[in-house]
Symmetry: C2
Subunit: 194 residues, 2 copies
Amino acid sequence: MNNFRLTSFLTSNIDIDKNNLESMVSQCKTKFVKKGEYLLKEGEKCKHSFFVEHGLLRQYALDDKGKEHILQFAPENWIVTDRESVYFDQPSAYYIQALENTNTILFEESLILHLSKQDPLFLEFNNKLLHNHIRQLQRRITLLISATAEERYLDFVRLYPDLLLRVPQWQIASYLGITAESLSRVRKELATKS
Amino acid sequence: MNNFRLTSFLTSNIDIDKNNLESMVSQCKTKFVKKGEYLLKEGEKCKHSFFVEHGLLRQYALDDKGKEHILQFAPENWIVTDRESVYFDQPSAYYIQALENTNTILFEESLILHLSKQDPLFLEFNNKLLHNHIRQLQRRITLLISATAEERYLDFVRLYPDLLLRVPQWQIASYLGITAESLSRVRKELATKS
DNA sequence: CGCCGAGTTGAACTGAATCAAGAAACGTGG
DNA sequence: CCACGTTTCTTGATTCAGTTCAACTCGGCG
């Protein structure tokens, strides 16, 4: 099986015994997406959470002017999904696309809830995922409200240094909420400073 | 008891029988805060979720220049908390303050998890709260990244028309991530248009 | 009365967007 | 392995949305 990262992700997050873990993992399908291809497109209903075993995904929205706005990147060990679409059963406003050839493991939404009813550990695990997500979103809002483009870029570099090399710069700009040109200038500015 | 809104909030969100509901509500303490007073201050650990029975709260952070940034308002039927602080047991970065005399009902963090283990309905309820929170945060990020100050203000007006009258304008500006002067100009602009 | 916080307005300034053009890097097919 | 087109990144000139600072108004409240 091709789920090394998932099993170690799970064991480091919940204190679960091997049998339970096996039974969970065995219930998950895997999906491979080639670079450029999509796991989800705007208008579709999102049915899964995607755990990235290997590769890199991005989640983004298109605005009315056709401009992309990147909500998040998901390298190895990350989970992406449109919770709004999955949970409220609505068409998604987002695309989830592979930036590299990517192996993912799919969680059925009902699976975790189902497991939670059997074993409270899964409940706490799910809770932890949701709280982490909220923490990350909240942090991003605070930055968007109060920090300059330069500060946001520095924060990004600090948090996701590995992504700098794997993600095209204009997409990082999009994540930060600025244009590619602006990010280029921010970087130039930073280079002369140091 | 002074929990009319809480009970109707709960019954409209989970399909729970009266006995269970009574037992839950009876386990919650209430707290009254006068206008201007605080339920949480920066550096303290947040121990509860606060359900607003009557009144109005705001949650905000101070940046290094002493500027306030409002994360959210909470009128009747809203729940506020710093999940990051409660869940990860960290000192909070936020203040929660009463903008009006406010009656709140306190949820112990452990309570919901505890109830969830007894009755899966509580689990789903908690899940719903978390997903709603995520939805709201995500929406806000999208707006901050892609919309102008005017668009964000219009969105605010549409979503929270009642708050317009209850919240000082400079605080709405803070919520939108702009200055009080800018909001004043946005409003002037909108007035001449229509 | 006088004070104080909230809101408005103006003028100058600034961070970032836009538009346009060129340079570098990249992948693909021949 | 090179040649080509495409995408990415950079740079410059200009514009624009929003900030900053300062002055003034208004309404409430001691």
